[in-house]
Every structure is written in C-alpha cells, then in structure tokens.
Symmetry: C2
Subunit: 427 residues, 2 copies
Amino acid sequence: MSSEQMAIEARGASRVLAALSSERRAALLRRVADALLDRQEEILVANAEDVAEGDAAVAAGTLSAALAKRLKLTPAKLEVLADGLRTLADGEEPIGRVLRRTELAPGLLLAQETSPLGVLLVIFESRPDALVQIAGLALRSGNGLLLKGGKEAVRSNAALHAVITEALQPDVPAAVIGLATSRAEVADLLALDGVIDLVIPRGSSDLVRYVQQHAKIPVLGHAEGICHVYVDAAADPDKARAIVLDSKTDYPAACNAMETLLLHRDLAEGLGPALLDALREARVTLYGGPRAVAAFGLAPAVDLHHEYGDLACAVEIVDDVDAAIAHVHRYGSAHTDAIVTDDAATAERFLDRVDSACVFHDASTRFADGYRFGLGAEVGISTGRIHARGPVGVEGLLTTRWKLRGEGDTVAPVGAGERKFTHERLD
Amino acid sequence: MSSEQMAIEARGASRVLAALSSERRAALLRRVADALLDRQEEILVANAEDVAEGDAAVAAGTLSAALAKRLKLTPAKLEVLADGLRTLADGEEPIGRVLRRTELAPGLLLAQETSPLGVLLVIFESRPDALVQIAGLALRSGNGLLLKGGKEAVRSNAALHAVITEALQPDVPAAVIGLATSRAEVADLLALDGVIDLVIPRGSSDLVRYVQQHAKIPVLGHAEGICHVYVDAAADPDKARAIVLDSKTDYPAACNAMETLLLHRDLAEGLGPALLDALREARVTLYGGPRAVAAFGLAPAVDLHHEYGDLACAVEIVDDVDAAIAHVHRYGSAHTDAIVTDDAATAERFLDRVDSACVFHDASTRFADGYRFGLGAEVGISTGRIHARGPVGVEGLLTTRWKLRGEGDTVAPVGAGERKFTHERLD
C-alpha cells in the first residue's frame, strides 16, 4: 500500500472512531489495555529479539548503549502502559468541548466545539513504549495515526501495533493506526500535506531538524532547548543556588535544562563566583561569554547559541534585566527562560517581555514539562508559535468546528436591515 | 534592504510594540485613525493615480473591471476605516488574557496567557482598504507585519503605509510594518520560516494556491469554498427554499456560497423539483450529478468538486443523511456545509459527523463569516485544521505563553518523592 493510501484509509477510519460515543471510545482504550497484558508473551518475545540485535549492535559499535537500553520492555513496563491507557479512558472527554457560545440573533445559536485534528504522523526513535502512549492519545482524541518507529525496535513495534489494532475490532477499522516500516516512506509521508494534518517528531534534534526541513505538513516539536537562567542583582542567594543547580544538573540531557547562566554585573563578585563554584562542585564544566571570560577566567564558549545537553554550560555577564532579555532573544531558542530576583517589578518585566514558550520567575527551568504542568500525557514541547506552544497535552491533537443551529435563517434580511445581529456571548 | 532584514526588523519593532501598555497601544490606533483623516488629501491624490492607471488598464483589457472598481478610495471610505480603527482601540485587549491557571504545588502558580504571534505576512490584492484593516489588527495584537499589495494599488498602498508608520512615531519603530513592493520579494518572504510566523493570503484562489504551494511558513486561509446544502426528507419546505436560495444567490462569488445542492431521494418528486424551479427563477444555471441528470434531465456537471463562484451550482440526489455526509467528505472543501431538516436526530448526526470548519442546521451557508459570527474584524477564513479554523478573528494572530511564578522551586524534591504536585485548576 502506498503511503498516501495508508493516510487516506487512516482518515476514513478516524471518522468511524470519532463518531463513536465517548463511552465506547473509552471502552476501546480499556480493551487495548487488557490486550497488552493478555498478549504480553508475544510482545516480550518480539522485544527480546530486538534487544538481542541491539546488544549485538552495541558490541559492534553501531548503536549507542543509551539507545539500546531504552529498547527493553518488561512485564512491569507493560503494566505501566496499560495503567496509562486506563487513566486516559477515565479522563475528560476531549471531543465536543464547547469553547464559545454566541447567540447571533434570536433563535440562531453558534457553538465552537473541539474536534479531532484528523490524521497525525508521529515519528519516534527507539522506545517502543512511545507507540502505546501515542496510540492511546490518538484513540482518545478521535484521530487517525501513522507511526514510524526506529528500525532498532521494528519487531516490538510490529507486535504492539498488531495487538492494539486487533483489540479495536470490530468497532474501528485497523487502518486507523498505520505503521510505516521503511525509512523511505518517511519522505513520502512528509509530503502528504493534503492528507496528514500534523507531524510530531519525537527523538533527537537531528530527527526534528530533518522533519522540519522536509515536511510540507505543520510540525509540532522543538529542535533545540537553549534555556537561560538570569540571576538578577536582587536575587535571593539561596533560591539562585537551588534553581541554577536544579536547572542544570537534575537531568542535563533534557531539553529544558539550563544551557546559559546570565549574571547581573553586580554579581561579578560575591554571589556570581559562589554560583560558579557550586556548579563546578556538581562537576559542571563552565564556558564563558566575553565578559565572563574576562571576569572569571573561564574558557571561552565557542557559540552562545549552543545546547550542551550535558554537565556543561555557558556563563555570561549582563548589565541589567533588559540586557538579559536581549541576550535571550538573540541567543535562545524560545523554549524556557527563567529569572531569579526578589524584585517583583523586575520579575514581571522579564515575564512580560521574554518571548519564549515558557517564562519562569524563581522556579527551575526543569518544570517545563507536560506532566509537571498538569496537562496529563505530553504530546511534545513546541517552540513553534502556531497551533500550540510549550508543553502540549491532548489539546494539541484537537482542532475546532463551528456549529450553527437556526430555524431557517438567511442572511438577506440582515443585509436589507430588516434583522439585526445581537451577538450575545452565552455562558 | 533584503526581505530577511525587513522581517528581522519587524520582529524587533514588534517587541517594542508588544511591550507598550494596552492603553498606549490603543492610543496609537487612535492616532493612526486621526492621521488617515488629517492626511486624506495626499492619500486620495495617490489613489487617483492608481485609479486612472487602472481605468486605462481596463480599457486596454489587462485588468478586470471588478478589480479596478475595488481600487477606489473616497473620503467616506477613509472615514469608515478610521472608525474601524477606533472600534479596535475600544475593544477588548487581546494580549495577556489568561486562558488557564493551575497551582502546580503550593506557592507555584502557572498561567497560560495569550501573546502576540510575532511577525505576520499578509499578501492582498487590489483593495487598499485591506492594508489599513490589517495594520490595525496587527497593531492591536502586538504583531509585526509585512505587507505585499497588488501592483494596481502601489501608490495608494505606499501613501497609506507612510501615513500609518509615521503616526506611530516616536513610540514604535516604523519597521513594525514593512511594505514589500516587488513581486520577486514574495518568493523570498515565503521561504523565511525562521522569521515569519504566519502568512495570510487575501485574494483569489490562485493567489492562495500559489502561497500554499510555495510557503515554508504556515498559511492561514482557504483556496476553495465548495459548500453544500443537504435537504433532508424531513426538511420544512419553506425553510429549505429560503436557505437554498440565500446560500446560492445572496452573493454567488463568496467562498461561503452553496456550490452543490444535495437532495434526499424522497424529494425527487415534490420539493426537489420545486427547489430547482426556484433556483432557475433566480437565474441559477443547474448542473447535475449522475442521479440528478437521470431524475431531472439536467446538464451533467463536469466535476462535483467544483467552485462555480457564480449563479450556477451542481445538484445531486443521495439516499440519506449518511450518503450526504459521505458526499460532502468526498467532494467538499471542508469550508461550510448545511443540513435542512425538521428531524433533530438527523440534524445532530450531520453536525457531529461532517468534518468541516462550519456545520449548520437550518441556516444559510452565508452566515460563515467573522463579522456575522461576532468575532469583530475578520482575519480570514481557514480551511486548515491547525491553529485556527473557519472564520478567524484577532485570536488567529495570537499564540500563548506559559508563565510560572515560584518561590525558589526546584524539581529535585518532587523527583525524590519529598514534594507532591497538587495540579489544582484555579478559576
């Protein structure tokens, strides 16, 4: 089957899915959860083959140990995945939520309601868990789904895909979740802007960049997380120390980890050097911007627009909050940027003016996360400005529809001045 | 200046604009309104030159009379445009509206607020009024704007652009609204996905299609409006007649006009032929799908996916509401589709299942319009499913930001199980 045919069938099947009642869609998710546990034997056998091949590839030096480690499924992991699906089933119904109601004129009622986006393409690497989570989100929100996993997990993904789509029978055609298996299909899929509505790359920044460059379809995601913490002259030293350390060291490879520490010039002595010492004690390698090199004798940073993704970061000195904001706009990636200060006006100035998806005051950049934000399952973190921004929950998989209910209404009498709009917002 | 430089400067200036208080941004709009009237002399002189050249082009057969007619500005039109800007100034502040507030944990407050999208590119044809309306929307919503008008209105656009950007001095750099003048710049601008956030083509479907095909930037708009009215077996005959006539004849060139009339098979005698007679009386030329050709002896439609945009439409017979829905999905453009029926369950089935931006029951398709929907100024009508759908008001020019306010909070204690999220939704 061609990629286009797969996408067209997914859209057709998604309409069957979306037309089910909320209860029946929730029941389907519970059926999938049961099937994952009932058929765990065959899933784990397929996974063991992927893991064995992965281990061999690590030994041969063709796969990183980190990627190989994320491949492995266990009965406990399947239990967690099944629980996640049941939580989704129990959660709020995403489709048909009324966002706005207006009486256009007496008897003429307009409602804007959430509806499924249509067909999603999700490209993910290595972790087969992701397949189950994404399928759950798509099923809950009435969307068709095309999946492309990494070749390391090809057997695991095929087994999970079979278990999930068979559990949907006979209510929803299996085509509602398509599984692309060859790398060549990706390029084809990324060109299908007429039949696929959104592509979500989940994986390395190389993957995200490839997708952003090649997709005709809108992309939800982020290629870079160059997050800043600006420590103001009026910062509380204990808060500054805690936030700087947490932002860099809690999980240095995460996209929401601090990559650049900005210090107010008044901190060039005192708190500034103390923060650098604390980072060094936590085994963080420091690189300086021009002024930090001069003040602290740091090794110069090659580029201040750089994601270390490791126990390393850049440091620079700025004159004041406005200079910090300008630095963030110039070198950042509009992901997450934080200020530490006890001065409320300075804090609000930073929050109002820094043009990033997430702007924080006296809090670690590591809070930028769908689960921590209370959004439930996270679809991704978007640094784009269209559709959804920052951590994205299931709302990122929805669009809206306008429903108008009349009594035989026509526009001609309005045009002729015989009837007037009331435009009364309801609720 | 290169297109890219123009876009970068517009983004810088948009940050100055967005940082102004709501009152000052509103005051700027009033100043622009005053300037339009104070300097109407020079605007009208420039416009008269465009109009004279346009009339010559019509005489030479190189410009359509319809386009030429839309060129002309008058003191009364400028008065209306100035009033529109004052209405925008008096309206609700679009930036900083809180969409969601969550207490993540005691003392840690998250707010999702509306913020400007960034830099918009608007490509419009002929009507210089559009420049003023679009500039007003961009200024109100704190966005940078790049404009490309038609070459027929080049002098009018330059005059309006000068008046508007000079009225912004000294508060906002003139670069906040850039005016591209050459056709060649459009291709350059459409490739600037790094610096332009959204492109809005306002004009013919050829223009929209060109932009959709060539833009790396997301496009808000619609190339086609293939709208259906389905008259069910349980339709009230008077309502059906009124809605069918209004949907087709009120303004046949509009994107929300009916292009295909679908009749339930029970109406092949009685109401069906009566509706066709009413359309013919209104001088509408009728073309049939296969079953309508057989039943009514109509000339066959060449393609049921066709926008007549004139006093002409297609007619087809379908078995029931589900067949009508399938027809709409197969041949429609997901713009606006309506059902006429007195059967509430059938109506809800149609509204729930037809996957279009606007779905109407017992109302004319002509209501699909930003002003009629009560959205204020209309940015465009989107048949895309990302970001905004259907008639789009100023919200289409906004994105959101997540603001988190803490007291020195870090994620490490949560990870260690020493602190728990409360995730309490506020408001």
